[in-house]
Every structure is written in C-alpha cells, then in structure tokens.
C-alpha cells in the first residue's frame, strides 16, 4: 500500500476551505475512483492528469487507485485539483518524497501536455491557507501576481509539470525573467471632462460623501453614464484590506470587469438592463459565482436605462442594499458574498426620452410618461436618497474651454468630509450619513431650528412625505460635512431638499 497526501483549497463563495487530497495505490485491477463529491469538471480530472503525467514522462499507476478529497461532505468543483492529484499520484508511486510537499497547498489545472493552467480564486484560496498557518504554495504561473499579493504565504509559480518536478527533485526555481511590478492602472476618467452639470456634480459629490444611492434622470446623450462612470474617481481609495476583499471577489468571478490586481480604485460595474436577477445577485449550479452587485462591492453599481430592466431584477437588489451582502443557496450549499455598493440608476424621463425642459420634442402620452418611472418600484426608490435631473449642457458649457473641477479636487473634499462624519459617528455602529437610523435623526442628530422649520412647513403643505423628510435630513448632514458646518442649518437642508425634487409626495 502506498499513500500520497497533498493539501489544496476548495472555494465556498469567497471563503477557502483546506482540502486534503489522499491518493492510495493498492494491488488490484487498474482502476481509478475519485471520492469526495466531485462535479463533472473534477470527475474529468482523471483524463487530464493521466495524459499530463504520461506526456511529461512520469508514471501512471496501472493499479487500483483511490483518490479521496476530504472533507468528504463538501461539494468540490473545477479543475484546480488536477495538479494536487497529479502530485499525490507521484508521491504514492514513490516518484517524489512526501516531505517535499509537507505544509504546502497546491493548485492548478493540467493541460494534456503537462502545462499548468490558471485557476480561479487563487487569492481567496491563499488567504484561507494563510489563516490555517500554511506558509507556502505551488501555483500556476498565470496566477503568480495574484498569489504574491498574499504576503505571509510564499508562493512558487510553475509553467508546467516538468518545471515543477525539477524544483521538487533539485530545488531548481523557475526563471520568471524580469518580475513585472503590479501596476496601478492609469485611470483615464476624470470629472474635469464633464462640462457644466453643476447640479449633477453636486449630487455625485454628496452621494460619495454620505454613501447615498443615486437616481439620475435625463434625456439621452446628456452625460448620465459619463457622470456615473466618474463616481469611483471621487470616492475615497479602498483600504488595503478592502482592496484584498474586492480582489478576492473578482478572482472568484474570473469574468466581467477587468481591473488591475489590488487596485485601490473602487470598482465600477455596469450590467446591461437586460440582465437577469441571477446575474445581478450571483448564482450558478455547481460553482456559485458572484453577481454584478458583488463585483461592485466597495464601489459603484450602475444600471443604465433602469426602467427597462425586467421586473424583479432591480428589486432583487433590495436585500443586498439592506444587508450589504448576499446569500445564495443551491444544492451544493449556501455561500455568502459581500455586496456593499453605491447604487446609481439612470433613466430617461419618458419612453422617448425627450420629456425635459419644455418637453416640446416629446411624443409620449401623459399616461406613458407617468407610468415610465413608476416601473421603478416604491420599495427600491425608498432606498435611493438622491434624485438628480441631468439637463442637456448649454451651448455655453460646451463651448467653454475651462475644464470643470478635477476628480482629484473633489475627492479631497469627499475624503475630508467622510473624515468628519467618521469622527462624529465613532461611537456608533455606522460611519456614513446615509446609514443614520430615523430615530437618531430625531434625537442625537437633529438639524438646526431654521432647517427643521423649513421642512416642517413643507410637510404641512404635503410637499414632503415622512420618509422623504428623513432622507432630506441625512442628505443635509452630508452637505454639512462638505461645507464644514458642525450642524446642518437652513442652507444645507435647502440644498438637500433640492436633491429630492420631484420624488415626494408622489
């Protein structure tokens, strides 16, 4: 009887679980059984491993071979176990000594010629390994940079099986050539490119300060998308740990938004309005993958033409908006993804898009116009603090050569305003103005008399609902933080009220 034992990592959402791979080769007819709830891709690993071993000149056991992945109850999927299984087979056959692989995790898919291919989720897997006290890892060369970002695990990357074998036998490290520095992708977008749009710029800035979700309404071509795309550039940069979490989600997804590894720029995700609820929230049969709202974690989720979304898609966002994470349950188990994002919806004012200003070009009936924005459900709009109208920029704005304020300038203001809020809320469980509970708005976080008097008058005239009242108060705090006022007064409240123009009491 001969045994080989290799450690690898399975993914449950963005949580890694250490998996022990045991390979037993015993006398009997040639046969291969794989235990431990493998999915189809994993089941097929036998053929890949066999060809890869034979084509690198390594032996394949013509004996009774049992491969067991434990914990046995966990559903395992994907091709990342190819490499650890192959190494386990080599250990069990006595080709490589078990000690050389003690305390290491191994990941990688094998090509038939023995090349080691990239796998998804290397970053979260190594983070899990680090927590388990594992100090080194063998990974595919394509995942090298990702692996290097986990600093307490020493990762060695290999291009193929023979390179790996010569490392194990002779300690030969592969030659990577010049190590490319992990580059912070030059962000090409800047707020200075937006001409005019004072109101919308304000809305964007306040949204960034207080974490207020945002609805942009305007005719086509006025710059709704342009504005939304630039929102990440005025958000405070991600902290190291947040960047790691964001990178982990993206590593598991392995699709969609291309962003430099460990970029500190908050992500921007813009799913198409025909997207499904599953793509928005996350899901999948065997491997549960994060959806758009988790890819936008730490950044901005932008949905253009929001009223055109299928019913239910936007409402699926209500739960993550509330709890800042999503839980997805499938046969294979339940996983949790973080989903703390700033929601930006964009909409035309009516189906034809021209009902704005004097509305002369609009061909829609009044009923159509009224119904259009009603497609956004009440409970969803309830979670959106700001409604901003984006008007077509005037000829004067377009002709002006003077660039608007740059992202850098605005971001500095946002960071200092957030600093003020954090200082104020340091004893509270929240740190953003948009998260102040209604009860606290009436007690500890009241606005000055003149401000509340103004709102009470609006309430009396039924121009403001109770719900809207609280939202205005939260926005007023964000304005106060921007202006450096300790408590919001009439100025801030009026400015905040402007940003809810037309929402209440409809």
């Amino acid at each position: 009887m001969s045994l080989g034992r290799i450690k690898s990592v399975a993914l449950l959402g963005i949580r890694g679980v250490i998996v022990d791979i045991e390979v037993d080769i015993s006398d009997g007819l040639p046969g291969y059984s794989l235990l431990g709830l493998p999915d189809t891709a994993l089941q097929e690993s036998r053929e890949r491993v066999r060809s890869a071993l034979l084509n690198t000149g390594a032996p394949w056991p013509n004996k009774r071979t049992t491969v067991s992945l434990s914990p046995a109850w966990l559903h395992k999927s994907g091709s990342g176990f190819d490499l650890p299984i192959a190494l386990g087979l080599l250990v069990a056959q006595g080709v490589i000594p078990q000690e050389r692989l003690a305390g290491q995790v191994v990941m990688g898919e094998l090509a038939l010629d023995g090349a080691i291919r990239s796998v998804r989720g290397v970053l979260p897997a190594l983070l899990a390994a680090q927590e388990e006290g594992i100090v080194s890892a063998l990974v595919p060369i394509a995942n090298r940079l990702e692996a290097l970002s986990v600093d307490r695990v020493k990762s060695i990357a290999f291009a193929d099986l023979s390179q790996l074998m010569s490392y194990i036998h002779d300690g030969l490290l592969p030659d990577y050539g010049e190590a490319p520095e992990p580059q912070e992708g030059k962000n090409l977008l800047d707020l200075s490119e937006v001409s005019g749009q004072r109101g919308a710029r304000d809305a964007l800035e306040v949204s960034a300060i207080g974490g207020h979700h945002l609805l942009l309404i305007g005719p086509p071509g006025t710059g709704k998308t342009m504005l939304a795309e630039r929102l990440p550039t005025i958000l405070p940069p991600l902290t190291q740990s947040a960047a790691l979490e964001v990178a982990a989600v993206h590593s598991v997804a392995e699709r969609g938004v291309e962003r430099p590894l460990l970029s500190l720029l908050p992500p921007f995700v813009a799913p198409h309005h025909t997207t499904t609820a599953t793509a928005m929230i996350g899901g999948g049969a065997h491997t549960i993958k994060p959806g758009a709202c988790s890819l936008a974690h730490g950044g901005v989720l932008f949905i253009d033409e929001a009223p055109e979304c299928s019913p239910g898609v936007l409402d699926a966002l209500r739960q993550p908006l509330e709890s800042a994470n999503v839980s997805i349950s499938r046969v294979t188990g339940t996983v949790h993804f973080p989903a703390n994002f700033l929601l930006v919806l964009a909409a035309n004012p009516c189906p034809c898009g021209r009902f704005t200003g004097k509305g002369r070009g609009c061909t829609c009936s009044s009923l159509q116009i009224r119904r259009y924005l009603q497609r956004l459900s009440g409970p969803l709009l309830d979670r959106i603090d700001i409604r901003s109208f984006v008007e077509a920029p005037s000829r004067l704005d377009l002709a002006s050569n003077e660039p608007g304020e740059s992202s850098e300038v605005v971001r500095t203001r946002v960071i200092s305003a957030r600093g003020i809020a954090e200082e104020r809320f340091k004893k509270e469980p929240w740190s953003l103005n948009s998260k102040i509970p209604a009860s606290q708005l009436r007690e500890r976080y009241r606005v000055r008399k003149d401000g509340s008097a103004f709102l009470h008058a609006e309430l009396d005239h039924e121009r403001l609902s109770a719900r809207g009242y609280h939202k205005v108060l939260r926005l007023a705090w964000s304005f106060a933080d921007r202006n450096g006022t300790t408590t919001p007064g009439l100025n801030e409240v009026e400015a905040a009220y402007q940003l809810r123009r037309g929402i209440d009491p409809a």
């Binding site: 006398d27 009997g28 007819l29 040639p30 046969g31 013509n62 004996k63």
Partner: protein
C-alpha cells in the same frame, strides 16, 4: 483471433502456470470452457482455489493489458468460477479471482504482472 495471438496467449498461460507452481500452487485445469466463457487457469494453493485470467501482450503500446478488465468482466469471471465450483462439486471451498498480465515486449525476458484478488 489470429494464429499469432493464440500462440502468444498459450505461451503466456504456460509462463503463468510455471510461475504459480514455483510458488507452490498446483495447476488444476487449463482453458476450462463452457457456454458462458472460458477460464484460462485454475489452480489450488494452500486449500484456496485460484481462478486466473491471463492477458498477454506483445507491446505496451495500447495501454496496460489489465486495463481491459473492467468491473463487468471481473464479475463474469466470478460467475464462471462459481460454475466451475458447482460442476466440480467443490461447494464451500475458498476461492479467489486473480489476473495476470504477461508482457512480451522483450521476447527473451517476458515479464509477469500478477494481481491476486481482483474482485
């Protein structure tokens, strides 16, 4: 089956028989054939009946010879073994299904790969 394969097969069986006898087993019967199939070798070793399937190959180009014996074929061997036990009134005897591969890629030094108890 071509003439060449038949000769190779017979040679393999002879080799395996002498291998078994060198271990102290006694070959009881060769090529026992009934309607349901054939048992290449039947031997007795320390009171245990051995039913042996012998596979001979002239090269290993087409994979390991024993790979062609799947679970189903092993079960068929067991049925044949039981048939032999029944017809020879050996009920209650201990028995075992074994497989042997004989590799003739080196004509002068054929190699026997003997796998006891495959079921």
């Amino acid at each position: 089956m071509g003439r060449k394969e038949q000769v190779l097969g017979a040679a393999g069986e002879v080799l395996v028989s002498s291998y078994l006898e060198s271990l102290g087993a006694k070959v009881v019967e060769r090529n026992w054939r009934i309607k349901g199939g054939e048992i290449d070798l039947i031997a007795r070793h320390n009171g245990t009946l051995l039913f042996i399937e012998v596979k001979s190959r002239s090269s290993d180009r087409f994979g390991h010879p024993l790979e062609s014996i799947g679970r189903e074929k092993a079960l068929r061997l067991q049925r044949l073994a039981l048939a032999w036990i029944a017809t020879h009134d050996q009920w209650g005897a201990d028995y075992r299904i074994d497989c042997a591969a004989v590799d003739f890629s080196d004509r002068l030094n054929p190699v026997i790969d003997y796998r006891p108890g495959v079921l």
